[in-house]
Symmetry: C2
Subunit: 431 residues, 2 copies
């Protein structure tokens, strides 16, 4: 094994973690391998980034990423700047220059993965991206290699630590969404502008990557349905708990007969579901395969060293030559993977949690269930509590499996009943 030289583009939190591991004198890599990837250069547009760690004099530091991407002695480019541009241009140039790429950039891969994978194939190079989903959890490798003998049936995960922290806090401490968000921001778990996390966009980027690897298909990222947690009401967490369910933001990919359901939304899970006990900033992904059955991988989904752990694992994979073999052998990276139809929201089939706000008088339940029945939606359980305000009571129901198109039609009709006093809330359920 020859020593491969690494150029690190982006010296943010994760970049500094990667540099730390690569520069460590008694690195775990040296303990385990005869030879390790060697850090040759670091690029960051912020000159202050240089001071994050002690950079030895034989490691180049530059503000210009192109200096590394064009460097003849660098064989691997690690892209850790995130976002679409200039990350895409840097990766493209690196591949064109005959360098392998390691990246944690989920947004870029979700939106332009196919194009970049084709570019890599065209130049006989590889793109590795374990760190793009689930931080230090080796979920890409498991889906791609460990479960290769399986037809993947579903992938279902908590892949965003920020929202899981917020929901955990709301559930355990009964604080409102805004208070939990404020706390997450204070602790550095949420950004100042939390949109990407709380609206489920980050999770949908990760879902796009997982679904491509798991199902070996290509699709338009924009066909992923996503809904965040910013409208989650504390009372729904309480009622759900009473019914034996925990609320989580899940990224779900399920292969049906002719379509794939790809959806990110707040989801009720039975308390005994393994994902129900994934708390705080932890991530976990459940995978169901035709041979392996149900499996789960769990760990820290973000943070400097967990994410750096995944980046460095990819670097070793490239340095040893395994990444190149994998990339060349797998159809999903070859550009010949099929485009697969994605189900639209009206085609989803799940159980539903419904919370109606109704007037407290006889016959209300009959009217509502009558309409639901008309649309073939049957009820699994009902909770009705005493009125908090005069005349208005919450009526909570759990349905059996139903089609979302039918549910939507029923809800429109129910909304027109004079006994309905407010907007009806619904949440999807996974069993």
């Amino acid at each position: 094994m020859k020593a491969l030289h690494v150029g690190l583009v982006g010296m943010g939190t994760v970049g500094a973690g990667v540099a730390k591991i690569l520069l460590e004198k008694n690195s775990p890599l040296l303990e385990k391998l005869d030879c390790i990837p060697v850090l040759k250069g670091i690029a960051d547009s912020n000159p202050e980034a240089k001071n994050k760690i002690n950079i030895p004099s034989n490691v180049l530091f530059t503000a210009d990423a192109r200096e590394l991407v064009n460097h003849p002695d660098i064989q691997i480019i690690v892209e850790l700047i995130g976002g679409l541009h200039p990350a895409k241009e840097i990766i493209t140039l690196a591949l064109e220059n005959g360098k392998d790429v390691v990246t944690a950039n989920k947004m870029l891969l979700a939106l332009h993965g196919s194009e970049l994978f084709q570019k890599a194939r065209q130049h006989g190079k590889s793109i590795s991206f374990e760190a793009s989903v689930g931080g230090g959890i080796p979920v890409i490798a498991a889906l791609r290699d460990g479960f290769i003998a399986n037809r993947i049936e579903s992938i279902c995960g908590i892949v965003n630590g920020t929202t899981n922290y917020i929901l955990t806090k709301m559930t355990k401490e009964q604080v409102t969404y805004s208070d939990a968000l404020a706390e997450a921001q204070k602790l550095g778990y949420a950004e100042k502008d939390p949109t990407m996390d709380v609206e489920g966009i980050d999770a949908s980027h990760k879902l796009a990557i997982l679904a491509r690897i798991g199902f070996g298909v290509d699709f338009d990222y924009n066909s992923i349905y996503h809904e965040g947690i910013s409208t989650v009401d504390l009372s729904d967490i309480w009622y759900a708990r009473e019914l034996g369910y925990t609320l989580k933001l899940l990224a779900i990919a399920k292969k049906g007969e002719n379509t794939i359901e790809l959806r990110v939304h707040p989801t009720l899970l039975p308390h005994e579901h393994p994902l129900s006990s994934v708390h705080g900033v932890f991530n976990a992904v459940c995978i169901t395969g035709s041979a392996v059955g149900d499996a789960m991988l769990y760990g820290r989904g973000a943070g400097q060293m967990p994410t750096a752990s995944a980046v460095v694992a990819d670097l070793v994979d490239v340095a040893l030559g395994r990444a190149g073999i994998t990339f060349a052998a797998m159809k999903t990276f070859s550009g010949c993977s099929e485009r697969f139809p994605i189900a639209n929201a009206l085609q989803f089939k799940t159980c539903y949690y419904l919370r109606f706000s109704v007037v407290d008088k006889p016959g209300v339940l009959a009217k509502i269930t009558g309409i639901l029945g008309k649309y073939e939606i049957s009820i699994a359980s009902v909770i009705q509590h005493k009125a908090r305000e005069a005349g208005n009571v919450p009526l909570v129901m759990m349905t059996h499996l139903a089609e979302e198109g039918n549910l939507q039609k029923a809800l429109v009709e129910i909304q027109q009943l004079d006994v309905i006093k407010d907007h009806t809330k619904f949440l999807r359920v996974e069993e």
Copy 2:
């Protein structure tokens, strides 16, 4: 990628599962890869094995494994007969004949791993063994590749489905050990002679493999401490629950300053520990690494298709050439890995659960805690219940972290007190 031919030795439950996947017309492998490992021959000493699946005429069936091992057109031997002999001889001959080996044989690797790994290196071949631990869970790959940037601090797992089924049944249905074992045998989860499983021997074989990969060291298998579940008393499960703990058979490897603790024993875990919710025949392994922090892999630890899933993943790894690269690059397979001192039981440091049977009179608690204090063992919590029989009461204590050598000395001294009426039970605790 050239098509590599596979010789399958041992057509038991798992062997038939592997053959099924390899022979499937619309195999998931074909969906994902350009080229797949091809089943060339099957060997089983039992001619009836032939009828387990529909073997095509171009696949050789023989009673004599040597026919496959010496076959010039076979490049990979899958050994699935288990046990030490003739598995060891078959694998050795396969390596000498220039064939790569895939095996699920945990006992053989635990006892003779070093010798076989050296033999493989000597012939430039590889041994892959994902299926030897945790069935379909890709835990070997995670420890070896996914967490390569980590110094592994501890590995802690439920790696035996039989005992986890029995303990789950005892805990949830409050049946005795013998009744739970009988049920497990009826369902095919336990063998007629269940010794290997219930005495923790199978788990210690798996622990030997995990510890070698995780810590990159070699050691004498016999230095692993193991204790089974056959003496677990239902009352200890109850008291533990009262204290907030669940009883599980754990395989634990922990790196200390100068030694490694390697131990398999019934263990109390806090209810909120992720391993506490691993029920029935499921397996799970928690890994703590220097960069990744806490991670867990969970899934079916046994059974035909989950185990076959892991075997076939190894076959793909060999066929693509990745297994050979890994095997050549990693020090732990090179024969140059250090022998590392293993802690003996007296050096273990954990918290302990103690159940004394005492006479119900004043001053008993003072006497016992006095002796414990003398040996620097302090008490975290105590439960004392009313006597079931006249004069004899169980006194349950949970200690803080203590050295097992000290505990043993204290227990010998306590046993001599006239207030102690029976053998004292102790269980180790992980937090």
